[in-house]
Symmetry: C2
Subunit: 166 residues, 2 copies
């Protein structure tokens, strides 16, 4: 699958089958996150791969945005909660979500969770912010489609607001 196809195929998945994610795939998802670029090559991220069903159930209790029953949750922490770090983590997140498509997996990035209890469940130190959760698993059913704005609404040529000339 080429990159364009992968990007087009990626949808946020909120229903998962019970089939576990193989260790090899978990490793590949972490590996692509590792390879992401970051400002000044800081690599400000830390990843916790959670596959224990009981722990995932507990995380779910404190994560409003977490739908379905993923068999893997990747928690992404940062050295510090600076704007640049959020950019870096967004980049690493997309690597994970695209590689997941390639592996036949579905993902959903979740920003809506109660940070303190989830941090406690994952043993994350006080000074380390928890930025994002990614739910992962084999998709079940059809994902809800989310329409996008037209290209002309969001992209301009040469100057802000100028008609895209391509």
């Amino acid at each position: 699958m080429d990159t364009f196809e992968t990007i087009m195929k990626r949808k946020s998945i909120r229903n998962y089958s019970e089939k576990p994610v193989p260790a090899e795939s978990v490793k590949k998802l972490l590996e692509v996150a590792r390879l992401a670029p970051s400002g000044s090559n800081r690599q400000p991220w830390r990843f916790v791969a959670v596959q224990d069903a009981k722990r995932i159930k507990l995380i779910k209790m404190f994560s409003e945005g977490l739908s379905g029953n993923p068999t893997l949750v990747i928690a992404i922490c940062a050295e510090a909660a600076e704007p640049d770090t959020y950019l870096d983590i967004g980049i690493a997140t997309e690597n994970i979500m695209l590689e997941a498509v390639e592996l036949g997996l579905g993902t959903c990035a979740i920003g809506s969770f109660s940070e303190e209890p989830v941090k406690q469940l994952l043993g994350i130190p006080k000074e380390i912010p928890l930025i994002l959760l990614i739910s992962v698993g084999y998709p079940e059913g059809e994902p809800r489609l989310r329409p996008r704005k037209a290209l002309e609404e969001i992209a301009y040529s040469e100057k802000y607001g100028e008609r895209l000339a391509l």
Copy 2:
């Protein structure tokens, strides 16, 4: 090229040939950004594709982080400078940078620029933050390699700090 290969192949490119980026490729880079997921599907981004050589030269004067002579600069603005928006823009940025690899192009994400003068050059309204510049062009020479931390340094199993068991 599959996604893993694309991710591995992507390097930050700081030297470009003079060959311009075809309109079709510019469009594809904007299209993959458009397809990126965002919190609550907000799509908080706006993209300005700059190909005018004089304008790029002017941008460069105010952008410390911009190396080489890219033939395309994509400026990414946001509706608001919130942490979640930075995550969304990181995700869209990686779509652009990976699709560029597929198209034979090189990119570099640049956070180091003087926001006010660059905004003026691009006609970006006062209330719209300029978050990131991406330089784009056909790579020239060999990119500088940036080592990554080992997987075990940045990834844990089940709990923060616990040895990766995969």
